[in-house]
Symmetry: C2
Subunit: 341 residues, 2 copies
């Protein structure tokens, strides 16, 4: 039985049957149930492949997750909370969210190209943006709707929302330089990640403003995870002229840094000032309380969803210009930065 026969059998329009089978909101629960039951009874299974060929709309948005890059800067709790917000925003427009995981070692563009050619989704959320990210021109050139979580160095017009690393670095460096620190160790994300450039630039700016010479030996680019935080803190503290403060721009790096400091008999917040990136569960577990930054990931996810939805064809909203916004993070003062020089 095809959808036409099913609709005739039920005395409904094909559109209503289609909407009911796709769980659209504009069908009453009673009608939906009637349609679903009849479809099951008569063995009708709507074919998504056919549907895509007809309408060109999958009703689905893809979040491209590159485990290697994304976990390099953010930890896992970051993404789960973000996905929840994103999903809430998409549900408002009856869109499903799928997370597409790039294979390990696979080129990001090859991955994206494969899914675009398959027509898996109607629009994309990209994360882990690189300084020079070929996914951006690829999607722009094909007029495929997308929003990026993060900027790039690409001078073209596209939708993005990025964490305000400028603000984070300004706040953190002000705290440390005002307390008299002149040797500040920095753990920045891998150099390919766009925000890594912003972090290092703003670090150098803040040093210049405080009249402190820049020492490249104090800057490490790494995976910024727990074990990296541990290794980097150990290395930095082994310097002859070792830092008196550590600024760790990774979600779980502070957990490793605390461990490394204690192994050297140094107490965070008493002997060495420590500032972290975000108050995730791991950082909240640290004692003394970690000074770091907070943001509402649910709201960020919602904003990404709304920015993307406005660009999808057939959405009622007026798209307007592409969203381009820095997402503020709030300084959360703990005890770990309180080392006076």
């Amino acid at each position: 039985m095809d959808i036409r026969e099913l609709a005739r059998h039920l005395g409904l329009s094909i559109g209503t049957v289609s909407r009911a089978l796709n769980d659209r909101k504009d069908v009453s629960p009673a009608t939906r149930q009637r349609v679903v039951e009849a479809a099951a009874k008569h063995g009708y299974i709507p074919n998504q492949s056919g549907r895509t060929l007809r309408s060109g709309r999958t009703g689905t948005v893809g979040f491209m997750l590159t485990l290697e890059h994304d976990s390099a800067i953010h930890g896992d709790p970051f993404f789960m909370a973000l996905l929840e917000g994103l999903q809430n925003g998409l549900s408002e427009h009856d869109l499903d969210l799928v997370v597409l995981l790039a294979r390990k070692g696979e080129d990001a563009l090859t991955f994206l190209r494969r899914h675009v050619s398959r027509g898996t989704v109607d629009g994309w959320v990209l994360s882990g943006t690189q300084h020079d990210d070929p996914r951006i021109p690829f999607l722009l050139d094909r007029n495929i709707p997308f929003i990026a979580l993060g900027r790039t160095a690409i001078a073209r017009d596209y939708a993005w929302i990025d964490l305000d690393f400028e603000g984070v670095m300004a706040d953190a460096m002000t705290l440390l330089t005002k307390a008299g620190h002149r040797r500040i160790g920095l753990v920045a994300p891998p150099a390919t990640i766009n925000n890594s450039h912003i972090v290092v630039e703003r670090y150098r700016d803040a040093l210049a403003r405080a009249d402190i010479p820049f020492d490249p030996a104090l800057v490490h680019h790494g995976e910024t995870d727990e074990s990296d935080g541990e290794a980097t803190a150990s290395e930095l503290m082994a310097m002859p002229d070792r830092p008196t403060a550590l600024l760790l721009m990774g979600e779980t790096a502070p957990v490793g840094a605390y461990r490394a400091l204690r192994r050297l008999g140094l107490e965070p917040g008493r002997d060495v000032a420590v500032i972290g990136l975000r108050d995730n569960p791991a950082c909240r577990a640290l004692s003394p309380d970690l000074t770091c930054f907070s943001l509402d990931l649910g709201d960020l996810g919602l904003a990404l969803a709304r920015g993307l939805v406005a660009m999808l064809p057939g959405q009622t909203e007026d798209g307007g210009p592409a969203v381009q916004a820095l997402w503020g993070m709030t300084l959360r003062l703990g005890q770990s930065h309180k080392v006076e020089r």
Copy 2:
């Protein structure tokens, strides 16, 4: 230009062109590049919808994630590491992994039915299995390949791998009862989650073996996250005959429990024994060191992938009987359980 013309133009078979465009491993990188470049030059975009209609194979496996249920028992770091292992296992067979997120408040079966009817994926990994989980008979009745991360109370034959909560409870309860604890507070997952039943059963068994009466007031079913750990620890410690030990079967619950204990002037591992579930980054950040359990999530993901792949049509391996296995967790002794009574 269609695929036939493209193949003729390149002097290759349609099969080779198709495999090259789908990034299959059995095509040399040079040929793949030649095909991709020619396809781009001549404006050929392979249509996944068409491909699905022809072959009935999407080359994709779906991981169904229910944020509400899954984050209830496991935290986020659990899933990211698991997905990485799963993806590695699927890549071996040239399969892509997509994570399909059930919408908030949406019935799990409605969600699954929608994606099955769309033919989104070739097979499923289910997580957050409920005691009575309608997704299991739904997929079994339709002969759709799946593997469950977690058991259910359903007495039918299907593939599953579950964490060995029996072993975890036996180890933890032995530690505590041997140290003389008779009032042991238990934070178990929500009662609908299948493992919650196992946890409570084994808790009661262990008490009976140690000749300790069961007090239902000591058992809490909750979301087992950080704030729940905090609230539950506070409540348990407010009892007139308060527990001397806490057993917290949630990933970040110990973080909240440490906080609650300290607010009451109690030190974990000195005044109250604490045992947690897994050594995730948040638990590793706790001081004193949390006694908990560890497992290799990458290996677990790989095992799930292999168990599922063996059931997919067209895979060369001999499927054999469905995988049904408990996945062991290793006791990791810290300092937090060391309270003698």
